[in-house]
Subunit: 347 residues, 2 copies
C-alpha cells in the first residue's frame, strides 16, 4: 500500500494517503461513474484519476466503455481492507445543507426568470455556476446568520448572480458587485433596473487593489474564488478589506475536487494566522454546480474516462468567517496567474 | 453604542461587540424567552445576561414575569439600527444538520430502549446529554464520512451513549470508551453484553495520560468536552493520541453558549498550529441537548430570568478534523480544573 501511495504521489504531485485510495475504492463499490467517484471520494480530481490509473495498471480496477469496476484481484483487496460502501445520508429535503428554502419558494421562482436568460459560463474566468436552489440557499443562510437583512453586502465575482437574488429578496440595504466579465455586469445591470434595486456594479479585475470607495464599507462579502491558494488569498483578502470592521462576515466556497486537505490546512492557517478571522461554519455539499459546456476543454475531461457527467458531480463546501478584534486585511496588487496549480482541473 | 459595549465588557469579562448587542436585540424581536434569546443570538450566555441587564438599566428592555421585551425607547433604537428579526431557515426534515436519519429509523428505535433507562446526568462531570436523534445523526454522519464502517472507534467521555448506538449499528470493527463515571460505564457494560458487542470500557480520568494500549490504535475518535480551552485541548489531544496516524478523523462538539468567537479562534489556532490537523466540517445546530435536571444549580440559571426552559435551547456545532502528515498529539498529565472559565455557565 505504501508503495502504491508513493507511485501515485510521484505521478500526480499531490500527497496520496492510504485513506485516499480507500476513499476511491469505497466509491467504486457504489458506482462505476468517474464523476460520481470524484464526488463521493472527496479526493482531488487529478489524484483520483492517477489512483484509478495506477490501480488499473496493477490489475485491481478495469475500465470498459468509460465505466470503472473492480477486478477479482480488486475485490480481494477490498475484502482484505474491510472496506464499506461510501454511503450518503444527505438530507433529501435540504440537499444536505441544513438550510430549507421552503420559505423562499417565490424568491426561487422569480430568480429562475433571470437564471434562464443568463450568459453561459466561459472558461477564461474559470466560471461555472451553481444551481438556482444553491443561490437561494445562500441567501437564506446569510439571512439566518443576520448578515443580509438591512446590511451592506458585496459580491466579489458574481457569475452565480447572487446579487440578483439578493436584490429580489429585498433584504439588503445596499448591494455592490465586482466582476471582470462585461457580459455578466451588463446582465446584472439590466436586471437591477428591472427589479428597481440600485446594485452598484464595478467592472474590474480583482488583482487590482479595491478602490477607496469600496474599502471599509460593507457588513458582508460573498465570493467563490478559483481554488488556488493565490486566488483564495486574493479574493478573501479583498473581501476583508471591503468590510467595516469587527464582527462582519465573509462567505466563500471551497471544493475538495481541486483542493487537497493539505491545501485546506494551509488556507485555514492563512485565515487564522494572517487574516486573524474565525471560521464559524464549514458545510459540505452546500454549493452544487451545474455541468458546464466547456468541460471538454478542461484538464478534468482529460483526466476522466471521457464520458459526459449525467448528474451534478462538482460540489463545494460553504465557509463562513467572521472578523474579530485584531483582524487584518490585504489590498495590494497581484500580477500572477491565479487560476492554475497542480490540483486544478476545471479552469 | 461603544460606551454600552465597554460597560458590558467590564461587567462580564468577555469581549462585547456592537454585533453582540445587535444579535441579542434581533432575537428579542422574535421571542421574550431568555433561553431562546441565548440560542438564537449565538452569543455566550453570560454575555447575553449582562447585555440584557445593561439594556434594562438604560431603559431599552424590560422584564416582566421573566419575559423580556422592548420598551418604546428600545423600539426606537431598533428602528434607528435597522435591525431585522433573527430568522431561522433550519431544515425541518434534518433539523438543520444536513444529515437525514430516515434510513436509521430502526436504529433510533433500538437506541431509545437504552436511552430511556440511562443514568441521569450529574453536575460533577459537566454532563448533560443530547437528544437520541442527535446521537443517531452522529452515527450517520460518521458512516457517511467513512469513519465508522469497519473502523476502530474510541469515545472519550460517553454520557451521550454514542458507543451503544455504534454497537447497535454493527458498523465498527472495534469500539472503546473512556469514561470517568462508574454509573455510565456500568450501564454501557450491561448494554454491550445485551447487544453482544464487545465494547472495551476504560473507567478513568482523562487528565491521566492514555495508557499505552490505547495509544496509536484507532481510526476515529468522538468526544464532547467541557467548553474551556483547557478541556478542549486536553480531550482533543487525547483523541489525536489515540489515532493510528495520517488521515484518521476526530469529532467534537463546540457551543457558542459557553465559548465566544475569541475562544473559537483560539481553539482553531490550536488545532492548526499546535496539533497541525485540518478542520473538514463545522455544522451548526448539529448537537441538540435535552434540558437537564440540575439546571437550577448552575450559573446559567442565576444569569437567566429564572424561568424553566420550555424547548431545547442548548445546541452545539459539530466539528470534524482529520490528521495529515505532520500532525502532532499530546498525552501529558493535566492537574488543573478543566470545567470552569469566565464563559462557562452550565457546569
Amino acid at each position: 500500500m505504501e508503495e502504491l501511495c508513493m507511485e501515485i504521489e510521484r505521478r500526480s504531485g499531490i500527497k496520496c494517503y492510504e485513506r485516499s485510495i480507500e476513499n476511491v475504492l469505497s466509491s467504486v463499490l457504489v458506482t462505476s461513474d468517474f464523476w460520481k467517484i470524484v464526488k463521493d471520494s472527496e479526493e482531488v480530481l487529478v489524484l483520483v484519476s492517477d489512483i484509478i490509473n495506477v490501480l488499473e495498471e496493477k490489475g485491481y480496477l478495469e475500465e470498459t466503455n468509460g465505466k470503472i469496476s473492480l477486478t477479482d484481484k480488486g475485490k480481494q483487496l477490498i475484502e482484505s481492507m474491510k472496506l464499506y460502501e461510501k454511503t450518503s445520508f444527505e438530507c433529501d429535503s435540504c440537499e444536505g445543507r441544513g438550510i430549507s428554502i421552503e420559505e423562499h419558494k417565490d424568491l426561487l421562482k422569480e430568480f429562475m426568470r433571470y437564471h434562464e436568460k443568463r450568459p453561459k459560463p466561459i472558461r477564461k474566468y474559470d466560471q461555472g455556476f451553481v444551481t438556482p436552489s444553491t443561490t437561494i440557499a445562500r441567501i437564506s443562510f446569510m439571512m439566518e446568520k443576520g448578515d443580509l437583512g438591512g446590511k451592506r453586502i458585496i459580491v466579489l465575482g458574481d457569475d452565480d448572480l447572487v446579487s440578483i437574488a439578493a436584490a429580489l429578496s429585498g433584504y439588503p440595504k445596499e448591494i455592490a458587485v465586482i466582476e471582470i466579465d462585461s457580459r455578466i455586469t451588463d446582465f446584472i445591470s439590466k436586471a437591477a433596473k428591472e427589479i428597481g434595486f440600485d446594485i452598484q456594479i464595478h467592472e474590474r479585475d480583482l488583482r487590482e487593489p479595491l478602490p477607496s470607495e469600496l474599502v471599509g464599507r460593507f457588513h458582508t462579502f460573498f465570493t467563490d474564488p478559483p481554488e488556488t491558494l493565490k486566488a483564495l488569498q486574493l479574493f478573501i483578502g479583498r473581501g476583508i478589506t471591503s468590510l467595516i470592521g469587527e464582527r462582519c462576515s465573509g462567505y466563500f466556497g471551497l471544493t475538495r475536487v481541486e483542493a487537497s486537505l493539505e491545501k485546506w490546512r494551509e488556507i485555514q492557517r492563512i485565515l487564522l494566522d494572517d487574516f486573524k478571522v474565525v471560521i464559524t461554519d464549514i458545510i459540505r455539499s452546500f454549493n452544487k454546480y451545474m455541468n458546464w459546456d466547456y468541460i471538454k476543454e478542461t484538464k478534468a475531461w482529460n483526466k476522466s474516462t471521457k464520458w459526459i457527467p449525467e448528474d451534478i458531480w462538482y460540489t463545494s463546501y460553504l465557509y463562513r468567517i467572521e472578523t474579530l478584534s485584531g483582524t487584518k486585511s490585504r489590498n495590494e496588487r497581484v500580477d500572477e496567474d491565479i487560476y492554475q496549480d497542480v490540483e486544478s482541473s476545471t479552469s
